[in-house]
């Protein structure tokens, strides 16, 4: 079976991606209206967070983080039960990668009597994101995936297996997730395809760009506005010298406001010899990253580090951001990034410090 056949056979027919995005935006706006009308009402704030998470993840609308930050403030003022408010604040903090804050809120939620299952699930997500007690997380993830066979649980397990560098098992788990899916929302399918693209394009020790591109293309076929998938596919196209496709992929999501799109497009334009266009696009990327890092440092520290270590052309800043990221979530990947940038910056002391942290872990 060819890769394309394998992908086709694994994908369940879902709602057209354009309809799904229109409906998400429609539901997101409505949920905010309902929240402002009665902020303390059961389930409303949680629904807003869910819609904003989807918008951030699949549309790449980074202003979702600003909106949920506003929600977290309103939740504190809305007079809802403190455990519920704390759980929502933990979710919002986790969304912005403010994991220490998230843990604090989660403890408050737990003390206040928030449902244990909700607390445990979020704590597991945070532990996984921070690379904390991964053996324990793996056991819990395996248990949940075996019990539910739910796509969300399988994807979380696949992602963890990839972090642990068991790429074959991760691949198998993601495909199991695709096969387990019986619903029509395209978001979960697009997510799995994207994760498979990441697995073979970026995480595997011997990357397979052609296979990764197939999965990214499939994610975009299911959800055309999937900004992250477009950016990653554009990177592959750029590396292969296919500048026209890379440009087309990025231009369609330029209006979203993610500075990474501007950055990658600037690189493509530069490689294509369109220097003026590239320079103006890079200017937008610079100001976009600066603004984002000022508002949500921890959420974008790793991307910022990658930007400044590359076309952003500021290795000192890149190293600073990479270390902020590694300190916030000391995963192997984060530490590797910090180490690589320290080497590029000829900062042997920092590189040594990072190596020591890796050894400690």
């Amino acid at each position: 079976m060819t890769v394309v056949q394998e992908i086709d056979s694994a994908i369940t027919p879902t709602t057209d991606g354009e309809i799904a995005i229109i409906n998400l935006e429609s539901a997101r706006r409505r949920s905010w209206t309902r929240f402002f009308a009665d902020p303390a009402r059961d389930g409303i704030a949680e629904t807003v967070v869910e819609h904003e998470q989807l918008t951030l993840q699949f549309v790449g609308d980074v202003s979702a983080l600003d909106r949920v930050a506003l929600l977290a403030t309103q939740v504190a003022q809305a007079g809802m039960a403190s455990a519920r408010a704390a759980l929502i604040q933990a979710q919002v903090a986790s969304m912005a990668h403010r994991f220490a804050d998230a843990r604090h809120h989660l403890s408050q939620a737990e003390i206040g009597g928030a449902p244990a299952a909700d607390v445990d699930r979020l704590r597991l997500n945070i532990d996984q994101a921070c690379g904390n007690d991964l053996d324990g997380v793996l056991e819990a993830r395996r248990g949940m995936a075996n019990r539910t066979q739910d796509l969300g649980d399988l994807v979380a397990l696949g992602s963890l297996l990839a972090d642990l560098r068991d790429f074959t098992a991760a691949d198998r788990t993601y495909k199991e997730a695709l096969r387990s899916y019986l619903d029509v929302s395209p978001f979960p399918i697009a997510q799995v395809c994207f994760q498979l693209g990441m697995l073979w394009g970026e995480l595997a020790l011997e990357p397979d760009p052609a296979l990764a591109a197939c999965w990214y293309r499939q994610a975009i076929a299911v959800l055309p506005m999937y900004t992250k998938a477009r950016v990653h596919l554009a990177e592959i196209c750029y590396a292969e010298g296919n500048f026209s496709e890379a440009e087309a992929l990025l231009r369609q999501v330029l209006a979203i406001g993610d500075p990474e799109v501007d950055w990658r497009l600037a690189d493509v334009l530069m490689a294509d010899g369109r220097f003026e266009e590239s320079a103006s696009r890079m200017k937008v990327a610079h100001s976009g990253f600066e603004s984002l890092l000022e508002r949500h440092l921890l959420a974008f520290a790793d991307h910022g580090a990658e930007f400044y270590a590359g076309s952003g052309n500021d290795l000192r800043k890149a190293l600073q951001l990479a270390r902020v990221n590694a300190s916030n979530r000391p995963t192997l990947r984060a530490l590797e990034q910090a180490h690589d940038i320290a080497i590029s910056a000829n900062d042997a002391a920092s590189a040594f410090e990072v190596e020591s942290e890796v050894t400690c872990r």
Partner: protein, 498 residues
């Protein structure tokens, strides 16, 4: 909440989440029957149907197979089915709003094209069938925080849903000579087989209101969420394996409902009959008798009470189904239990498509200013609900104190605005209010707060409203000017943050 958001699977794609089913005699032509189904609870104004789902309404002849404690409604095998499918979106030209089309396959095999949101609908050339599909005001209302003790406002106020309304010639389509009592269900089913070639289980189906959320989903009756399991069952043919599970849950649930007022109104035998009737979940209607706003469940109730039913049962758009149901479950119609609302956001109409036009989206204006002063210093000026600090205010009269306090504002151009304090939190420097009159808007609420930011503070002011007899843009401009002028004056007074 009727059938809204009734399980984890429904949350995944709201356009496949059925919220309600209606069956009634057309008020504008008594020879015609109307079936309507709604999906996408709390849909925004741009909502569209899924192109991966079959939306179907199915009707079967039903006979009364038992009365009293042996009450039983037996559906036949023959099915009259309406099946709608929708396409991808199309745009006439780039940049224009998308349009969605679809088709409905009728019981006689013909297909009828549908253009979503075309209020006139589409009719077959012979006029037998007429169909509408599109956004409407949600006709369902539920005004309980905890029935039957804690009333609340309508929890679906201003909500919209996507609806499919099918009207047809009763005699030509339902053939009442074969029987006049029918059971109806609506269902949403994925269109295509999954990867191993099996058609995925249906996403949702609905017969009577509240089968999933209030009855099977009653957490006092058991911790396990059975709603997804129920929604995957085949309507008119609940599997023998799972029937005992649902039977047990319904029994526990209805016992719990009976005791919610502390009085046992149901004998064990009558309760068992009620369970059996609800287990056969289809919306009963009789086309030979009148359907009214109060006839919902009358067929079931009379039959359980051992009498011949008198009305067409069914469910009209304006029926207060929640209070009819709660009354029946809690006190077996001893005394009507009225929730906190007596109508939906907009009442249904007597003309096709019967469900009221969609509610417009609340407009929101939000603004903020960063100031050099501390939050406490700013709050000392603006936190007292007295807006005398605002440059557009000429005179203020305060009435009362605390929550509920009124401020009557005379503006410098001679207008009068009256606003009420709804919530005040001095510790977090924040208050909420409602505008009662003076701004051409309804449902106007505002919130003003001060937070620390750097060495200074940020003032955030937000209002939301429905424009009243004025274009949205006009009212937005008025409100925006009000906020901007006020915030600009604070910047002058306290200085901008550096």
């Amino acid at each position: 909440m009727s059938d809204h958001i009734d399980g984890p699977r429904q949350v995944g794609d709201p356009a496949a989440d059925l919220s309600d089913l209606f069956a009634f005699i057309s008020p504008e032509n008594h020879s015609r029957t109307v079936l309507a189904a709604c999906v996408f609870p709390s849909a925004g104004t741009s909502a569209m149907f899924s192109n991966a789902v079959e939306y179907a309404i199915a009707v079967r002849w039903v006979t009364v197979a038992g009365l009293g404690d042996g009450a039983k409604f037996q559906p036949g095998e023959e099915e009259i089915r309406f099946s709608c499918r929708f396409d991808n979106l199309k745009r006439a030209t780039a940049g224009t709003s998308p349009v969605q089309s679809g088709t409905c396959t009728l019981p006689d095999g013909r297909t009828l094209p549908i253009v979503v949101n075309d209020e006139k609908g589409t009719s077959t050339p012979d006029g037998v069938f007429r169909i509408f599909a599109g956004l409407r005001s949600d006709p369902f209302y539920l005004a309980w925080l905890d029935p039957p003790t804690r009333k609340g406002p309508n929890l679906l106020l201003h909500d919209n849903v996507l609806s499919i309304v099918i009207e047809f010639d009763t005699r030509r389509v339902l053939d009442p000579d074969k029987g006049t009592l029918f059971g109806a269900i609506a269902e949403t089913v994925p269109l295509k087989p999954n990867v191993i070639g099996q058609k995925p289980p249906r996403i949702d189906w609905v017969g009577r209101p509240e089968q999933t959320n209030m009855r099977l989903g009653n957490t006092a009756a058991g911790p396990l969420d059975l709603r997804d399991l129920w929604n995957q069952e085949t309507p008119f043919a609940i599997s023998a394996d799972l029937k005992p599970v649902f039977h047990q849950r319904l029994t526990a649930s209805l016992k719990n409902w009976d005791m919610r007022d502390g009085v046992a109104d149901w004998t064990p035998a009558a309760l068992a009959a009620n369970v059996n009737v609800f287990l056969d979940d289809f919306l009963l209607f009789d086309v030979a008798k009148p359907t009214t706003d109060t006839s919902h469940l009358e067929i079931e109730k009379s039959t359980i009470n051992g009498r011949a039913y008198q009305t067409g049962g069914g469910r009209t758009v304006n029926a207060n189904v929640i209070d009819i149901l709660v009354t029946w479950m809690v006190n077996r119609d001893r005394e009507f239990i009225q929730g906190g609302a007596t109508a939906a956001t907009k009442p249904g109409t007597n003309a096709f498509p019967y469900l009221a036009s969609p509610n417009t989206e609340l407009q929101m204006v939000a603004d903020s200013v960063d100031l050099a002063a501390t939050p406490d210093a700013v709050w000392a000026l603006i936190g007292g609900f007295d807006p005398a600090w605002h440059p557009l205010v000429a005179k203020v009269t305060m009435t009362g104190s605390g929550v509920g306090q009124l401020r009557t504002i005379e503006t410098i151009d001679g207008k009068q605005i009256i606003e009420r304090l709804d919530q005040s939190d001095t510790s977090s420097r924040f208050y909420r209010y409602t505008s009662l009159s003076g701004i051409p808007a309804s449902n106007y609420t505002g919130a003003l707060g001060v937070k620390p930011k750097g060495d200074g503070s940020v003032v955030e002011w937000r209002s939301q409203f429905l424009a009243d007899n004025q274009p949205d843009i006009v009212v937005k401009a008025i409100v925006s000017a009000l906020l901007k002028t006020g915030l600009a004056s604070l910047k002058q007074r306290f200085g901008a943050a550096k």
